[in-house]
């Protein structure tokens, strides 16, 4: 069994000299660089915090119950993502596809909440990208995060489509795991944004 596994690994074209899957390593490198990207945006938001000359303040516009609900959606989607991976590992392809679909739906719900939040800020509070330093730094940071979530939802829907067409099975474990890494990353970025931007007074 172990000899077979070793032979299997030796012939796997996705393994590099380190013995690690280069696709997965590439995703970790991307996530590391994305950490620095979001670090810059969060740092800029904090640097400008309280320095706006006009316009509504965060305390005037933030809807903490709605944002907490959105945070719960993303946390739940992280659970459904790992359950999809576990299903694939156990060769339960339909279950895995179902969990992937649930993850995509939760992500889509998050994006729709963000669209609603942005629209209410713009239409009811008069806060736009160009209103103030707060508006600029807030919309750029959360907008880029929302774009990441949207990309993740599309990726998940592609995986669901592949599973429904019988083109995804347990051998594609690493492909789904890499999508999962990306998805969990947008969750941890939101964990940071939720606390630093919304909760800290």
């Amino acid at each position: 069994m172990s000899e077979h596994a070793t032979t299997h690994a030796a012939h796997d074209p996705n393994l590099g000299n380190t013995g690690l899957d280069h696709r997965k390593m590439g995703m970790w490198i991307f996530l590391g660089s994305d950490c620095m990207f979001f670090g810059s945006l969060i740092g800029t938001y904090l640097a400008y915090k309280g320095k706006s000359l006009s316009g509504p303040t965060p305390y005037d516009v933030f809807n903490i119950p709605l944002t907490s609900y959105s945070a719960a959606l993303l946390l739940a989607s992280s659970l459904t993502m790992v359950l999809a991976l576990a299903g694939l590992q156990q060769h339960r392809i339909k279950a895995a596809a179902g969990w992937l679909l649930a993850t995509a739906i939760l992500g889509l719900h998050f994006v729709l909440n963000q669209v609603y939040e942005f629209a209410s800020f713009a239409l009811h509070e008069g806060l736009t990208l160009s209103t103030s330093l707060f508006g600029s730094s807030f919309f750029v940071l959360t907008g880029f995060h929302g774009a990441h979530v949207t990309g993740g939802v599309l990726w998940l829907l592609i995986l669901v489509s592949l599973a429904w067409r019988g083109k995804l099975d347990a051998r594609d474990y690493t492909k789904v795991e890499i999508a999962g890494l990306y998805w969990h990353f947008v969750d941890i970025v939101w964990i940071a944004i939720f606390t630093v931007i919304y909760l800290i007074p």
Binding site: H8, L46, Y48, A76, S78, V82, A192
Partner: protein, 113 residues
């Protein structure tokens, strides 16, 4: 046959994974921490420095629970950990540097200019 199929489903690079029970336990812990975070905003009289420190600590705990268990970094190789933790430390340094440059403080009151 089943053994062969199970082997095919395992990552060939040796990364282990948590069990479904662990995933659910982690999710419950995340939900509880989030509820405490939000509830702490509505408790009057908590000193600012303590509130901020507690919120940051809870956020960091959630962060590392997701990275460690859901992203499997706890079970992954040292190279993968270094590829993520290194840039993460740089990102934290970027945040602190920008805050220091612009005189922005989270824990301390802002200086009166």
């Amino acid at each position: 046959m089943a053994e062969h199929a199970a082997a095919a489903a395992q990552p060939a690079h040796g990364g282990g994974h948590a069990t479904v029970k662990t995933y659910i336990n982690v999710a419950v812990a995340l939900a509880i921490i989030t509820a405490v975070e939000v509830a702490s905003l509505y408790i009057p009289g908590i000193p600012h420095a303590i509130l901020v420190t507690t919120l940051l600590a809870m956020s960091a705990l959630k962060f590392f629970l997701v990275v460690g268990f859901f992203m499997h970094l706890r079970y992954d190789s040292a190279i993968m950990r270094a590829l993520f933790v290194g840039p993460l430390l740089i990102a934290i340094c970027i945040i602190l540097a920008l805050m220091a440059l612009f005189g922005a403080y989270i824990l301390l009151p802002r200086p009166i200019l």
